[in-house]
Amino acid sequence: MIQTILTPMFAETDASTEMLEKLGFLTPEIALFVTTCLVMIIGLSSSRSIRDTIPIVSVIGLGVAGFLAYTNQSTIAGAALGGIMPFLKTLIAIVGIPLVLLMSGTVDRDYENAVARGLPFDSIRSNRGEFYAFLLFSLTGLMLCASADDLIWLFLALELTSLPTYVMVSISSGKAKSQEAGIKYFFLGAVGAAIFLYGFAMIYGATGTTVLFAGDGEYSITTAFAADLADGALSPIATLGVILAIIGVCFKIAAVPMHFYTPDVYEGAATPVSAFLAFVPKTAGFVAILLLLSAVGWGFGAEGTSLPEPIRITLWIIAALTMTFGNVLALLQQNIKRVLAYSSVAHSGYMLVGVIAGPGDGGSIASNGLGAVLFYILCYGFMNVGAFAVLACLERSSGDEIETFEDIRGLCETNRVLGWVMVLCSASLLGLPPLLGFWGKLYLFTSGISAGEYALVAILGLNSAIAAFYYLKLIAGPLLDEPGESAKGLRETPYVGRVIAATVSAVSVVALVPFVNVLANAANDAATVTPAQAQTLDGSEAKIESPRSDDDA
């Protein structure tokens, strides 16, 4: 469609056809971007009823983007993980819809209530339109991450995902807590961005190009790394670059050296925004790690199924520490949002196991760690949104958010729907069969075992056992206990969108189980790696020694 519109505008050159191809695979992002602009314009309307259409427009835009992503199966030329794009973009749009629904009533709540009670509507004072626009910008950035084939693109997409979230946290509630959380998140985010940018600079320095993948065997970071690895190892500067990039991206996925902001920020932000933070930046981070590592490739080592040793060891340590820290610290928390924050840290650790395991032989999902990661992102998206949505649906009679385990005791009795959503989502997060989370974790286990990472899989198993302690509190509290004093004083927030988001997530956790095979196969196909052709900068095949020529100065 785009092609027919744009073809007359460009002369028939190589550059223009290349550009049209790129625009062709960006249709979902373009749809989402147009929606974002539309939402921003609607948000300026002086009529309150027109502004109230914003969530509906956002959901429709996401639906269109998801449909375009599903039908648009074009892939990036030369990418090792070319098939990742349609799968991830569809997934992002699907999980994005409950996230948008969850946001209803988040921003300017006090003001909206005052208007509902009869205060004249002042169009300057409400910034709901901007809030939704930021949310959609962030989702657009996330989709752009999935289409990245260049370091510059990847950097910009990661920043487009992150920058709006800093604002979203700060304005999510009128409280000082949110603003403190926002600035904390911003500062650590800026440091994380600086670290991975430095890593990108080193990768550029080592290879002389910012192109991650190029078609037709043209020179790119992938081919340069392949040439290096054919010589035995990555150059020290390239290794340093990849490791720095991973550590910087650890901020986005909330993994160990950069995880300490997580509980504070999730606690300070309004609950729907916490749910957003636990899914969107985390997915962006994993996509970035997968793309970077697919440029390095899993073709190293004796059996040719492993990452280069320094990178593998770094990831191994990060994964082990992330799982353990996340779960042990979650045990010590009383505030449910902090528990879920640490559990989100732990889940990043689990997913890193799949990243280390690599694509395997690509035969089935059981040995494909990357497919397992993609599948887990899908599972995690639903169960995590569901758990946070329950917290967002309930509030104390004072209007404060609920906080402690005491508040959700006996929830199944006082509020049947929300109680069961909490039980199902927590059970799924724990990995209880036969729920969706169990299958996600199972594939991570099997891929780890088939890659020979027995120690890491043992740590993963041990951590799942530790996690049972606090997830069982979240399951048994609502299901078995009598409602306590504080639980009786709770009321449901008057936003239908939040209940829909909670219900949709919980239903998906159960109803998608019969389709696990289909979804897992789709994830496996998306994560099939084609090995790169080794090539050096002058276009020749890899050589052992290719000294710098004299005429290049």
Binding site: L151, I152, F155, L156, E159, L163, Y166, V167, S170, A176, K177, Q179, E180, A181, G182, I183, K184, F186, F187, A190, V191, A193, A194, I195, L197, Y198, F200, A201, M202, Y204, G205, A206, T207, G208, T209, T210, V211, D228, D231, S235, P236, I237, P263, D264, V265, E267, G268, L329, Q333, R338, T536, L537, D538, E545, S546, P547, R548, S549, D552, A553
Partner: protein, 123 residues
Amino acid sequence: MITSLAHIAEPVTTVAPDIFGDVGVSLYHYLFVSATLFALGVIGFLTRRNMIVMFLCTEMMFQAAGLALIAFSKYHLNHSGEVFVIFVLTIAAAEAALALALVVLLFRRRETLNAEDWALLRG
């Protein structure tokens, strides 16, 4: 065209440093300054508690990466790195606007720039 970059980690004496002019400044000098800036940024961020200064430290880390990109760009004789830097500067500008807005928001609530005065969230 440059063929291989394996020599990039070799000592400075074995690499012809003359692409940066004949004043004896090589890629290593640029990388050293860049690494120093980056390290100063990290140290400053960890030790200072004034929110504006902390933000400036993150900017310094960005500029360190920018310097490295430009030096590499010159070294590789292509313009990718320089283009990258232009985008980095754009992002840095966006972050600066955001940082100042957030700091002003906090300052209005409590007239202080000291990060340690804000401790509503402690686990």
